[in-house]
Symmetry: C2
Subunit: 250 residues, 2 copies
Amino acid sequence: MNGQAAQADPSMESEPLMEVMLRPVRAHHGFEGCFEQLATAIRLGVYPKGSTLPPERELAARMGVSRATLREAIAALRTAGLLQSVRGRGGGTRVLALPEIVPTNPPDLGERREELLDSLVFRRVVEAGACHVAASRPLSDKQRTMLRAALADVARAQGRRAHRQADSRLHLGIATLTGSPHIIDAVTRSQADLHTLLTAIPVLSVNIEHSDAQHEAIVRAIIAGDPSRARRSMEQHCDDTAALLRGLLG
Amino acid sequence: MNGQAAQADPSMESEPLMEVMLRPVRAHHGFEGCFEQLATAIRLGVYPKGSTLPPERELAARMGVSRATLREAIAALRTAGLLQSVRGRGGGTRVLALPEIVPTNPPDLGERREELLDSLVFRRVVEAGACHVAASRPLSDKQRTMLRAALADVARAQGRRAHRQADSRLHLGIATLTGSPHIIDAVTRSQADLHTLLTAIPVLSVNIEHSDAQHEAIVRAIIAGDPSRARRSMEQHCDDTAALLRGLLG
DNA sequence: CAGTAAAGGTCTGGGGCCGGACCATTGACC
DNA sequence: GGTCAATGGTCCGGCCCCAGACCTTTACTG
């Protein structure tokens, strides 16, 4: 990189900042972005098996792409066997199946190791922050009920996939309580990044019981309106999960 | 929105989650994204007046766009009087001037009020989280020196704009210490969102002194390797800044 | 049973963006 | 002074994506 002009502050080691400041723009990837988001939403259980996506025109508007581009992404998901489209009134695009959780190849994990470790760090920041914010806000009865229901769903989920999805919905549900689109977006992206890796955690009784106890502590702190306790509980939860995952990453 | 199929969990109020889960893909906005990022980098002082941007080919690769698209964004910034290009060896694209900070129209602020309030909430989460992570890591002498230098730059900055830029560089500098691209990205976006609004804070002696004292506490806690104190100090700093800004937003 | 609304399906012309190749300028080096 | 490398500048064919218009299907309603 060329040296800076004289006016630039020499005491500030800003090259690293210049390095990281300009990042990929994500232009020209409408199809890819659509496909990824829809697959992630289905995978995380936001659109469970049997549910119907919003109508195409509405979805295109919400995602900020043309209907043609959206339709291509939906076509690809249909080809993959995840979606089914039915035309006519009362029709729509329905979730047929959940995406296969492909156990990632060790070399692939190796390639993505740094990125996944970064995602773990970021997850801890935003999920703990989300808990703090959620516990700071007055919650409606409806919101408390939603939270308790999501917690109960995790406890009674059978099998690795169902448990993973219920877990994701609980974490995402907490994020929605913050009322902050930025936080929701950050938690969503972090969940999406780590979903496959989180699914690799062995669903052993002892792990589940520990995890369930931590979830309960988090939910209780949020409902009690105790921001510090909510954050600390989530930090502990993220730390324990991260310890397991770091074992997988090597 | 169409009702869900029978299998969908009725106890989970997931409509809000479905609402927020799918967000704009940002397709087909290469030029816009480039322009915005470059203008922000200049505005935040990452590329100060007189400095040279990386060569076009390198910049295009880093931002993941074609050189043609990047050149269009640079051309627009040149037309705006911010950049100057010189061809030939030893040439390059130099920063001529800083973007005008246009004092935003009250109606505009009103339109963006919710978004800016959200950015304040998000800022608190990611900046406090960044401090926590930065204070948790072993820092090199170089990094400590960078931090102290950035702090000194804020203290000696003259005038609203110079002070704002030095302030941004300190916050961004802290983010770089985390070593986490996700955190750096989040802090960058949050700084970019709030930059204009933060510049609107009156640069009164009492405000500056208070802010400087808080900055010092933050830096001291990070250097001391005290994550909780670093986070709390940044939370306090963000809260005090937010209180001023909420006054502006009404 | 006809009309209507709500859904998906198809087609078209045009702009945005891409990757690559090549040209022109400038300064360092031998 | 010629060569070379490092920079910006220009051009081209092609793909992605867009917005809109219009068609077809399906189920509800009066």
